[in-house]
Amino acid sequence: MLTFAIRRLVLSVPTLLFISFAIFMLLQLAPGDPMAQVPLTVPPEVKERMRQALGLGEPPLVQYGKWLVQMFWIEPQVLWDHWFGTNYSEGKLRVISWQTRSPVMDIVIQRMPQTLWVVGLSYIVGILIALPIGIYSAYRQYSVFDQAGTFVTMIGFSIPPFFTGPLLIVIFSVQLGWFPSIYDTTLVVDSWADFKSQLQQMIMPVMVLALQTTAQISRYMRASMLDNLNQDYVRTARAKGLSEAVVVMVHVLRNSMIPVVTVIALGVPAIFGGAIITENVFKVNGIGQLLITALFANDLPMVMTLTFIFAFLIVMFNLIADILYGVLDPRIRYD
């Protein structure tokens, strides 16, 4: 198992390198010029020097190499310095955003908590709703509850977040006035009233994202439970007189959770991607919104870094899912 994990970890390095190279080369084709905003009165040779200062003007391969060094050598040093108060990274050039001329990773770190709060919470809420629905609709297959559950999950699959978002805003912000339609990031939670308003502003984006999660996971849960409910060991468990609750909630559930846990792990990066739209609807200034603004502002280092972070999340969670599958299911051996 350990050798498998290590081998997969080592194999993910060339994958990530290739993906980052592909993204970099794609971005090289960008038509925009970062010097377009500079006033025309600036002489061309000064412009050329500014271009050099941004790291442009070198061949693409050199630029890519420099990005690699900055991302994987200098940024970890910055993190290390930040944690342990050392100063290895002093005077070294980090990945600089063209919009703000500040290090990209600093901005990403600022934006991360909002995304993590909204996305993470919505994922947990979605899973908590999905599991009971999936279990019960498998246990009572083709019952009214099951049909209703199937219908709700179909709706969750079909209604895109950019429609549910505005719909919720119309109903709950405009008509009822219960929740604010814009996520206020400056809110500091230090009293119960603040906590309440934090809850109020989080509930709509969380529910929009949770609907998507619920739809997918409850389907998987139902299918997986159905696979297990007809197995021989279930009949044995019933025959030896175990109560129905123990049979379903212990014997069947534990075996059905194996594929579902992997699906949950695999879904994490996708929900980060999906959050781009939800963040845009509710004006949450997380990393999805950062990506959109960076794209429109032609801020290539920022776009490069963010897309790479998304790719990194996908590769890592694929790895986690594979390992989890091996750990949870003793029938699977990766040797």
């Binding site: 994958t15 290739f18 993906i19 592909a22 993204i23 794609l26 971005l27 084709l29 960008a30 038509p31 179909m154 709706i155 699959f157 079909s158 209604i159 895109p160 950019f162 429609f163 505005p166 719909l167 805003i169 119309v170 405009v174 990066p269 991607g273 999906g274 781009i276 739209i277 845009n280 609807v281 990506l291 959109i292 794209l295 429109f296 776009v303 963010l306 897309t307 998304f310 790719a311 999340l313 996908i314 590769v315 694929n318």
Partner: protein, 321 residues
Amino acid sequence: MTDPVPIAALQDKEPSAPPASKWKDVWAQFSKHKGALLGGGFLVFITLAVLVGPWVWPLDPQALDIRNKDLRPIYTALWDGEAKVSWGHPFGTDNLGRDQLAQMIYGGRASMAVGWAAMVLSLLIGTGIGVIAGFFRRLDGPLMRLTDLFLSLPILPLLLVAVTLFRQPLRANFGPEGGMFILIVTVIGITSWMPTARIVRGDILALKEREFILAARSIGTKPFKIISRHLLPNVLSPIMVSATLGLATAIITESALSFLGVGFPSDFPTWGKMLADAVPRMEEFPERVMLPGIAISLTVLGVNYLGDGLRDALDPRIRGR
């Protein structure tokens, strides 16, 4: 000499009916699934509606009728006698006086065209790669690594990047609408073929070892013929199921791109674009969000139900139960 009378159980009986064909069985199972029938019916209806709509409702979606701007849909008159409505514009008009019904029809055309085209493209790529990887053992490894690689790409961020980057050159070559159409279809197509490829490869791997392929090979059938005559018809059902899934995702992705403002040009209506444009004034005119939103959702819901029914109908283990 009398003929020996065979024992009753050994007598050959004429079959009472000709053997049912596979597709008849499939249809029998499919028509039992109410949701799938409704969904398929709705998909056909909406496709026909956007195709023949411009002849039935010949108003130009771009025509400005500024005297009749901000009309409400005709049904608002039911509960609000004061509302500005007109039979000339049954779905109302927008803030520039453009007819909403005509916009819905043309927007649906764009959305459905992108959906169908992207789905067909991704099916072609996916089936091609799946068949080649499953049939030719030497290409299996590299092609499946490629599929894994594509699966670990962040799709939505990459879509956004690709659309913003390639917008200018394609617009210059193919005009604003044509360029955007080619770009969006290509980008969705080449980022969504992976599930199809995996499913098709798995099925081909299993089918390849069966006796009928061995028989075909032994009479000297060329690999290309084996693929087209013997393998492809047998993987048709998983391909059809992933086609419905692909259509649903393509429609949603196109609308999402339009919603984020990187889709078609601003004067070219699509459902996602109409929804995005209506969001700032949705307090006063909620129907402008609702109508395109409902259109997208119902279409995708219909396609999903259709896929659900097809999966049941095409699976011989479920069929006949």
